[in-house]
Symmetry: D2
Subunit: 299 residues, 4 copies
């Protein structure tokens, strides 16, 4: 079964001046991530503002990224939507376009029992071929619903193609418990990327990092250090990366990513989809100034 | 400006066997609520599973209810959606079909700054006629984003048609603070309906209660007692109502409402939209048995 | 069985210049509270900095207040301490000095199971005469341990002299549930005093208010309005009181109470016991200025 | 300046049948910890039930451990108490008896501002010789007050003898931020010992582990693996240790430690100080059975 590893990038969704998905920018961003040595792509994630896009827009995003990546790195499409029907449709589409797998966030807003949550994941996993990889994805501070160890175990037991989980909260105790699932082979990736090194030290597979598309060299170097087992080097790189991330996340992090990528010529505009807010002109200037003072593209 | 008051009912969205909106059941439910003496209607609220419906389905629901109510009671359409464009479209539609006003839940999943939240509400309120009433709606345990007093004050100051707020968390301190807005004229309704009596004693206008569509006589009697200023009578009725609500909310409350309404012949099925869960057959039987033991339709 | 009611005042513990309990000031404060029409006294509560005092100091405080009150109003001594032995000693002392009853906060810092919590309260209640009233007291945001309905029911069932509970968190749903204990006769008082009116409307007995010792006229008037069943008058008085409380609680509320009481000549110093902080001179001046602008002693 | 490192053991406080501190058992426990290869001792910590002991009892405990250790391993005495005066007295005593340093938990129950919290620590650190090491200690889930990065930085800047911090909550993001203080030399130890390996990988100095006194061989082996930089070996040992810890912490963890230590003949009784609860006889039997099935003393 295919798995995510290293630095998986939940790429932002670029918009044009009219607010439509900007396919050309998306292609350039795909190349930017791959050319700078990152490990995997994860379009339509939270960083991709997925729940603000229509199903058709999400398909366009996924298709564009899968085609542009053209097998150079694994592409896992995030398929989680507000209701089951949309999730199933997006999962089916991911299979059809040749994605390497999918990730599926918990349903959000409406609180679900553990029983309903497990049912949901089992239905999604069973709807795709049994050799098509599925990742659970919990981000409880946004989605309200959380995935506990018992639910993850139940779904993993029922569905061999559920290969792992992305967990986006820095609860290191819980992250370690997920790693024990399926005889310690469950693939665990962490959301807050300041835990990249330690999650890997503990046996995790990597991080899902929005910051990585902005400062890819740092993540490529950090992943290399982690793979070499050099704790001291990894620690130094992780700490430098954390400093840059604090700058990128001081205001809305997704808006900040778009500003930097636009300034570097990768995408055309820094537009967000409302109600997501954009940086003011003053905030944009301050962001770029601070990043440059930190030589942000130099490891 | 029109306002909500008394018992406002966020009616469930009935589905047919194919999972489509069941218009006939919705009409009967509208009559059921009005004929049993409740105060106002609020289609497409959280209890209406609104974020699991398409924009077109939500329009169908709103239109059906407004036409069926035919001016007998005020109908405020809940118009909040995942993104601003959908919310604006639903708000415009509410005006066009002759609704009495709208409610708008905070955006969910993606965390917004206070600035972005205020901007969102100001844009929505400005998009409708200035004599068309708008209610803010916060349910932080589901939507992640909360409305604090400062944001509510800012929006109220900018938009004369923002007449009040529905707050769905039992923080009585905060509820009282909202009542002070706009020289103590801001209309405050509470979500957890066990606070109906006390919120009104404190100066609030009423409750938004999903339970009320199932046990309407209790809410009609309670509202009458509240209006008469009889604390002792209101307290007794509130306590009896709370007992019934605990039964209705022991499992998924929306699913329970549908079961009872189906058993009473008001709607055709108890189907929910996935991933929302339905009661098992055993749970349905146990629910009806317990309710009957409590003579649930007798005040 | 004796019960607390109306405005119960957890009086501050005045210290002299050397940091010792100032008995003379404490007597004057006791008179101040009684002379201004408040209902009951509650020395050694959280507002009395009880967990920073020695057992001997707490006995001195209790004895002074009970003697000075001399039966004019009920005095319930707060007896909860860090460990059971100290609590038992303080409970015994309260009986010996002729207090009307005791209150007992949950143990703090170390998390207890429900079983251990119930055991603790049963041991304390059984250690005093069976006609000596005991109040449970939960303030989970400070004590870590909370009292749920099940524990309160269990203790009430086991101990006839456990007459009620003081709950110091504005969860109005939970407060109402406690009122149902012992066939709806359990005495419930609320901590955050902005809920005084509504808790009484719902069937509670009153509030435990630190603010009341600083602005007693407001609480006396509010309690009179509540007793007369005049919701509108109570609401107005409650709102005015809330405004003053916000001023008193803007910085450390206990430190603020001491400053005002010192300025009015009731107590000699505004000293707190470290690590509790005192207001700076600038903060003291600003506090008094703001209060005077609000004519704080005029209802 | 002396520092804590590796596995620091917050030893339990053994009591005799009358509930008094059992000095002989305490000496044997001190030897047990040292003889089994653990790194440092930390008497009177949370695991030592310190806030349930009198100041005199705490002095007896500290003195016994320091004398018995006799320089074989560093002994840091936990000196944090409910009020500043007691903390200062315990800190002075720790110096006098020749302890290697102190730890000081945040004040508990009463919420302090950051200013008050920093003042508290600065006063304590200044009260001991400037070459006598002090550790900050935060356990917000018990003490209510937390230490944020800004307060820790401020105290570290003001007091050269504040060498580090013990943080007892598994927030890995925050733990890493503390490590950056004082040019990345601040000594950080983690409370939940399932983070021992990863905190060290990230640059921390070790763990403070109550479990370690019960299964010392596991911690000695884990610390050796961590020091050798062997992530894979450390991960395996950490995971095995975590399994045993889950068993020990299933009920009250301190009570469980005492049962095992009594069964092994290290201490005489498993008594706790009320209101801390003890295991029932059935729970004791089940605990020992489960531990033996896991060969708990074999690495």
């Amino acid at each position: 079964m295919k798995k995510l590893y290293g630095t998986t990038v939940p790429i932002i969704t670029p918009f044009d001046e009219e607010g439509k998905v900007d396919v050309e920018s998306l292609k350039k961003l795909t190349d930017h991530v791959i050319d700078n040595g990152l490990s995997c792509l994860y379009p339509n994630g939270t960083t991709g503002e997925m729940l603000l896009l229509s199903v058709e827009e999400r398909k366009l995003v996924s298709e564009t990224v899968v085609r542009q990546a053209a097998g150079r790195v694994p592409v896992f499409v995030h398929a989680g939507a507000m209701n089951l029907a949309d999730t199933l449709e997006l999962a089916k589409h991911a299979v059809e376009i040749g994605a390497d797998g999918i990730g599926v966030v918990t349903p959000s807003y409406f609180k679900l029992s553990d029983r309903a949550l497990a049912d949901y994941y089992i239905q999604v996993a069973n709807s795709v071929p049994q050799d098509f990889s599925v990742y659970l994805y919990a981000i409880p501070q946004n989605a309200v619903n959380d995935i506990n160890v018992s639910v993850a175990e139940q779904v993993a037991a029922a569905c061999p193609n559920v290969v792992g989980l992305k967990y986006s909260f820095p609860n290191m105790s819980l992250l370690q418990q997920f790693m024990l699932i399926r005889d310690e082979t469950f693939s665990v990736l962490v959301g807050p990327d300041e835990l990249f090194h330690v999650v890997c030290a503990a046996g995790g597979e990597g991080t899902v990092s929005g910051n990585a598309q902005v400062i890819p060299e740092h993540y490529a170097a950090l992943w290399a250090a982690i793979q070499s087992g050099d704790n001291e080097k990894a620690r130094k790189l992780q700490r430098k990366t954390n400093v840059l991330n604090n700058i990128l996340c001081a205001k809305n992090n997704i808006a900040s990513y778009k500003v930097v990528l636009r300034e570097e010529g990768v995408i055309k505009t820094a537009h967000m989809r409302a109600p997501m807010e954009e940086l003011t002109r003053e905030e944009e200037v301050a962001l770029m100034k601070t990043l440059k003072e930190h030589n942000y593209r130099t490891v």
